[in-house]
Symmetry: C2
Subunit: 310 residues, 2 copies
């Protein structure tokens, strides 16, 4: 790929590493997203000490590292910075070499996926391939799954914000809620997981589309939120969009409360719609709740679960 | 949440588990997405034996499990099904109890995040909170990060498919390529990570928007793809949209080749745009390549890396 040198604009570079910060190196022969995801979850376990900055960390993600020389370079650099090195390397000899280099240079290290690889290998009685996802020998064929996800994303983008109510019947999941309850990011998150999602805004004085009451009510979910939090979000939004409080009652407390009351009345008339409280929840947390209920309704298991076959 | 019973529509339920399939239970006190993500990566290590179905697996994801009684129920059910149980539980006493129950009932089990939690704890010298993300005692405050991601998603949806070229200057990343090179799902994937993405289609006979040549060329990425694969994708797409080959040359090999040639000529005229080969790559793999180059250009490190501060 062509490269140029640009001015350091946002101070994200090395030289800006805060003194005393804890440094974590993450190294993958693949995308590195598994490490990023896992480390994010784990860092949640250290939120309590972010107040006094004892937990302040710098993470450095190195993806697509599949040559031993690069690995050794990174380990050396980790040693210099006093970093912890977390890695996911499919090739056992690469993983072994990395571990040895870390031990040699005094770098604490953990192979994040190895215990899971070994547990699955021994469960199904098959040895892992040891071939990284980036390897040329892996022929990435496009699976049915791939097309399903892409179709879900295309569908979901087109249905955003109440567009095309005639397509509500084709959605797997329909989200209903007032402005800024997170319908759009939630829809997109679910679409990535392969669900076709439509979202329908509740706006006072505007009737909900007739089609909403003609589809399977089992796939409709209401979103609700604490009015104080909603007002804060709307204020932030209004600033971003550059419109001001005096021109609109969008972020006014009285109006926010009325709109949420209006939404709750609609929800009360449709007790079959689960109403999901989004206050204080991250998008992926609300998504997890919705997907759980969705599968639960379809499967009627004694214990709610999301089942898949590979 | 309100619940109803619906007909089993797609045979996803328990009763449909294939005989001889390998069963994996995944249990989290949170969303379960970390487990899902990790297990997907690990299953990639067993693709080689999917041909003869030896690796066929059923996964069952149990999320939001934070009560010991539920945990024990799930372990018992795993024992009945002969399943492997993988778990992520923040509370060490819950994790310990689960491990004990698994040992007692002969269920093989692995705590997927524990080694990473312990590595980070000892690196930064702070004990983990042991509080699951779902706990009411965690006050989920909306971070700056939250707003940034939502803004990125809103921006990206609005810019999809060349809409609003006047906003190209505000994008972090601009993707350029012919139809069905995966610009939209890629844009959305990157938006979820907080990048504002615009994508601009290359269509023969239609000029690229003037704005594209007025913005910082460092943020523009070309996408290219093998013509045979592109044709297959377009055929699938044409079927989905319900339009037929005779009405359109969209999926004709000759046309596909011409369009890709046209795109490559444009790329050749702009050598500063990295050209990413998407053939055989999953969306998240292409995303990883783009993010790596993006950060590399900004940081000018000797070793490409994605750095963040928490
Ligand atoms: N589809 C796949 N096939 C083979 N290995 C994979 C696959 N997906 C992920 N992996 C491996 O799992 C680890 C984590 O992947 P990643 O999340 O891309 O960093 C890396 O060692 C990858 O090589
Ligand atoms: N922000 C967070 N705060 C505390 N714990 C978390 C956080 N995010 C994830 N976790 C924990 O990490 C594990 C995996 O989370 P999940 O991906 O939601 O299943 C679970 O044990 C969660 O309780
Ligand atoms: Mg990884
Ligand atoms: Mg999990």
């Amino acid at each position: 790929a062509a490269k140029t040198v640009t001015a350091e604009e946002d101070g994200d570079g090395d030289e800006a590493v805060a003194a005393g910060a804890n440094t974590i190196y993450m190294v993958s022969d693949g995308t590195g997203w598994t490490l990023e995801h896992s480390v994010n979850a784990v860092l949640g376990q250290f939120e309590h000490c972010l107040v006094d900055r004892r937990c302040a960390t710098n993470t450095h993600l190195f993806s697509g590292v599949d040559e031993i020389d690069n690995l050794i370079e990174i380990v050396k650099q980790a040693a210099k910075e006093g970093a912890l090195l977390l890695y996911t390397l499919a090739d056992p000899s690469m993983a072994e070499a990395t571990k040895k280099a870390c031990d040699l240079w005094g770098v604490p290290s953990t192979d994040v996926l190895r215990p899971t690889i070994e547990a699955i290998a021994s469960h199904i009685g098959v040895a892992p391939s040891g071939i990284p996802r980036s390897s040329a020998s892996r022929k990435g064929q496009l699976s049915e799954d791939y097309f399903e996800r892409i179709e879900a994303i295309d569908f979901t983008i087109k249905q955003d914000d109440g567009a095309q109510p005639k397509n509500l019947a084709r959605a797997h999941i329909v989200l209903v809620g007032v402005s800024r309850t997170g319908k759009t990011p939630l829809s997109i998150y679910l679409a990535q997981k392969g669900y076709k999602v439509a979202n329908v805004p509740i706006v006072m004085g505007i009737d909900l589309p007739k089609a909403l009451f003609e589809i399977d009510p089992d796939k409709i979910f209401g979103l609700t939120i604490n009015p104080v939090v909603l007002q804060a979000i709307r204020k932030a939004r209004a600033n971003t969009l550059g419109f001001h409080a005096q021109n609109s009652n969008y972020a006014e407390m009285e109006h926010v409360r009325q709109e949420l009351d209006h939404a709750n009345q609609i929800f009360a008339r449709h007790p079959i719609w689960p109403v999901i409280q989004v206050t204080g929840k991250a998008i992926e947390e609300t998504a997890a709740v919705i997907v759980r209920i969705y599968h639960d309704r379809k499967q009627k298991c004694s214990m709610p679960r999301i089942s898949k076959r590979v």
